[in-house]
């Protein structure tokens, strides 16, 4: 399992990466995709949706289970990954790259500082042992 250092992490097993254009890309962690197993579709709120922190912005359906997606920080959805519609397995294959879920325009980019670092997240899931 990998947890890139340029991302911040949540207790709900999502990652956020602040991009150069000021948008924050959000996805689920390598650990999350492994626990969910084969993902069969991803449902996301539409572009333009305003999200409070912790608001549900989508669901991930795997064969055996379903999981909701929670906004790590407040913001407005600027883009959704429409490619997941035809290829949901991308989330399993490349969770930090092509398997991203949404990009949001953060209400306050400083909110990211309240999230876990890769090291803290790795410790939380017990993968640092």
């Amino acid at each position: 399992m990998t947890f890139p250092d340029d991302c911040r992490y949540t207790k709900d097993h999502e990652w956020v990466r602040l991009d150069d254009d000021g948008l924050a890309t959000i996805g689920v962690t390598d650990y999350a995709q492994g626990e969910l197993g084969d993902i069969v579709f991803v449902e996301l709120e539409a572009e333009g949706t305003e999200l409070e922190a912790e608001a549900v912005f989508g669901t991930v359906e795997a064969v055996k289970t379903v999981s909701e997606l929670f906004a790590p920080i407040a913001g407005t959805i600027a883009a959704i990954n429409e490619a997941l519609d035809g290829a949901p397995e991308t989330v399993n294959d490349d969770p930090y790259g092509e398997g991203w879920m949404v990009k949001i325009r953060p209400t306050d980019p400083a909110d990211l500082d309240g999230l876990m670092t890769a090291e803290e997240y790795t410790h939380m899931i017990g993968a640092d042992a």
Binding site: G37, D38, V40, T59, E61, V63, K64, V66
Partner: protein, 375 residues
Amino acid sequence: MEPATLQTTALHPIHVALGAKMMPFAGFDMPVQYSGILDEHHAVREAAGLFDVSHMGEVFVSGPQALDFVQHLVTNDATKLVDGQAMYTVMCRPDGGAVDDLLVYRLNGEVFMLVINASNIDKDVAHMEAAHAEAGFDCVLDNISEQVELLALQGPKAFDIMAEVTDLPVADIKYYHFMRPEPGAFLGCEKAILSHTGYTGERGLEIYCETAKAADVWAALMAAGETHGLKPAGLGARDTLRLEAGFCLYGNELTEDTNPLEAGLGWIVKLDTTDFIGAATLRTIKADGLERKLVGFVMEDRGIPRQGCLITDAEGEPVGEVTSGSQSPVLGKGIGLGYVPNDPAFTTPGTTLRFNVRGRLLAGTVTKPPFHRAG
């Protein structure tokens, strides 16, 4: 509540070495998946999969009145079995509620093997012992679950793979029949049963053998299966496969609160020719008409109604409940089974039902299983 220590099957070290994702199931630490549920599922549909289902229970019934006692327990007609034949059946309580679904193997006229669900072993044995004590048939019960391992080799290539590990005439075993090789004749097993049965909707074999030989049998089959596309398959794929095939799972479609008639198992409930525990109640239930019925459905909208999801009418009023739901790997759609009122307005194939999935009403169509040959 999880027991403090989980039981393990003889193949447990193999699963761990293969990197399987392990999960507690019915008191056993069992493999849920190896390469992934979808990959394993497709392997079974297209080539073959090898499952460890050693957690299942085996109870022998032996004695001059073994047949009479088995018939007293089960809903199907055990008197129709010949030596070397097996049948699928249900055991009921006096009120018609299902105690378990099971396979009955006739080894000979005085020896039968009952194969029961792992989660029900204690309950089933208690039920059998109570019935035995009450009715006083001349036979003995022997729960040998811990001495027997069970491997399921399932898929279109299953018999080809089997032919590579043994010269025994396995291809001649008819569906729902089995053979008992001489001691040592099948991969050195002292005791083995090779059964043309399964829970996947594909052709395949179920192999019963003693604990000490299970790892050898697994290794021989995996080695022979390599060129055939055989993959180890876990309980996750076992569940999606059985659901695509439309098979009931005890605890979901069948419970103590459901009877086999409403579960669509009338074909294994022989009320006219046999008598068994629960028969009188089931005759009354049948005469009065069923209140509800198990139906299959295929989702039209994107979504997967899972177990416990409410089935509603067009207005969103609840009329029933989903007992099993999953993505169908073959159809690429949500499929499932659930109970609805026994009314053609809900049970007729092609009828649209609604499913309350997290507050949204999604449409699905009543469809007669098996789903993997549907469409």
